[in-house]
């Protein structure tokens, strides 16, 4: 569905290399987590994939139609209600369809609220609803739950897992949180510090959000990731 080949991005005249020779593939209904330290170029990678950044080497091939984005900040329009924010990205959808999407992310009772009257978690739910209502085939998530507390973040991760399970949607999620990646991913791609290169790439077969991170296997995986991150710094 998404094929990224030898991606490289440099900034400025001094040719500051942000990401270097990154290649990976995202298949249908797969959750791929890109894990890397803060500032390693994870967001740059998503911005290239979503066509928000130009001037890079390598190629990005997206075989489906629509690509939704859940940003780090909710990026909701403060002058529009929850429902209007969601409706904006797909003018052809019906009222029932909007309500269904809002219900799927448990925000329907708040459809007439303005973003300023919602909590951080609710705003991100709205942001996810917007990306779903857009009719996305691939959902890009850029550390969307970074500012939420632990239990709320867990709730939101369960929501993402539920969406992935109930639809054919693929998810490409970037994070710097090892636990988050191990809990949700079908596949983890570990990036090094700048310039970001792929340091590790492995699959996890257990069901997302039903994993025991205290088990020996996951403790081993954590150590493996930490070693990779330390090796590359």
């Amino acid at each position: 569905m998404l094929i990224v080949k030898n991606l490289q991005k440099t900034y400025g005249e001094q040719s500051l290399v942000a990401i270097k020779d990154i290649s990976f593939t995202v298949h249908e209904n797969e959750i791929v987590m890109i894990l890397g330290p803060s500032g390693c170029g994870k967001s740059t990678l998503l911005n290239i994939i979503s066509n928000n950044i130009e001037g890079y080497a390598g190629s990005v091939e997206f075989t489906k139609k629509r690509l939704g984005y859940v940003f780090q900040e909710d990026r909701l329009l403060p002058w529009k209600t929850v429902k209007q924010n969601v409706q904006l990205v797909n003018m052809e959808g019906s009222d029932e369809q909007v309500n269904k999407v809002l219900d799927d992310v448990d925000i329907l009772p708040f459809k007439d609220y303005f973003p300023e009257n919602l909590s951080g978690g609710m705003r991100q739910r709205c942001s996810i609803a917007r990306a779903l209502y857009y009719g996305s085939d691939l959902l890009l998530l850029d550390e969307p739950f970074k500012s939420l507390d632990h239990s709320l973040r867990n709730e939101m991760l369960k929501l993402v897992a539920k969406i992935n399970k109930e639809t054919t949607l693929s998810i490409l999620y970037v994070t710097h949180d090892i636990d988050e990646a191990l809990m949700l991913a079908d596949r983890v791609i570990v990036l090094s510090k700048r310039p970001a290169v792929v340091a590790d790439d492995f699959r996890i077969l257990e069901q997302p959000m039903e994993r025991n991170l205290e088990s020996e296997r996951f403790i081993g995986l954590k150590k493996r990731i930490v070693t990779h991150l330390e090796e590359n710094t």
Partner: protein, 241 residues
């Protein structure tokens, strides 16, 4: 709460006026009653009511052109750096040029009629609106624009749903200031260039030594200001809904 303070403020002004009218002769500070009678005379006369409509017409024309040109130039200056640099000295020039100097030139172009009043009002409004819109454009959250582009919103949708609402607070404050400027400059232009409209009648009242008429016409100008402001606010609210 605001209404309460408005009433107190109004009460203070009326009291000062009333005390002033007791101390000074009517030629210096006419009484509230004299001004009230003068206002009734104006409002009950069809020909004098027509003078108010004349000024209103000039005001609306100058507001229309001043706002349109100001918005257009401000928008272009906001989105294009080269245009902004080119326009900046011209706007600065307009800001410091005395309206009276412009009025003299306008008289030479159009003669002694209402047109010079419109011209100076347009040039007086233009910089305010231009700066408001330009600042508004420069302060639009780029993340919201990026969101719109990511979800492949058309240019029209981005303009209508992101750009215009972002500009609204800047336009609203610019509008309020420009309306005040327009009221003052149009009436001033009329005083100096024509015998019609509110300004023309103020000029007549000055020649006839009728300070109560001057104040009555001034109060009518103020009422006109609030009526236009209220009308536009209601119109905008309807548009937003």
């Amino acid at each position: 709460m605001t209404q309460k303070y408005n009433l107190i403020s109004f009460g203070i002004m009326m009291t000062v006026w009333w005390i002033g009218s007791l101390i000074f002769p009517p030629l210096v500070v006419p009484s509230i009653k004299m001004v009230g009678i003068s206002m009734m005379r104006i409002l009950s006369s069809a020909s004098l009511r027509f003078q108010i409509i004349l000024t209103l017409e000039r005001l609306l024309i100058s507001l229309f052109f001043g706002n349109c040109f100001g918005f257009l130039i401000g928008y272009c200056a906001g989105v294009n750096v080269t245009f902004r640099k080119l326009v900046k000295p011209m706007i600065a020039l307009l800001q410091v040029t005395p309206p009276v100097a412009l009025l003299i030139i306008a008289i030479m172009w159009f003669g002694f009629n209402g047109k010079p009043a419109i011209v100076i009002a347009v040039f007086a409004i233009l910089p305010t609106i231009e700066i408001s819109v330009q600042e508004g454009i420069l302060h639009i959250n780029p993340q919201l624009i990026q969101m719109g582009k990511t979800f492949k919103l058309s240019r029209e949708l981005i303009f209508k749903n992101i750009v215009l609402p972002s500009l609204a607070p800047h336009i609203a404050s610019g509008w309020k200031i420009s309306l005040g400027i327009a009221c003052k400059t149009v009436v001033m232009g009329e005083v100096l260039t024509t015998s019609t409209g509110i300004g023309g009648n103020i000029s007549d009242a000055r020649l006839n030594l009728e300070p109560e008429s001057v104040i009555a016409w001034t109060i009518i100008t103020i009422i006109l200001f609030y009526c236009i402001d209220l009308f536009v606010k209601k119109l905008l609210k309807k548009g937003v809904n």
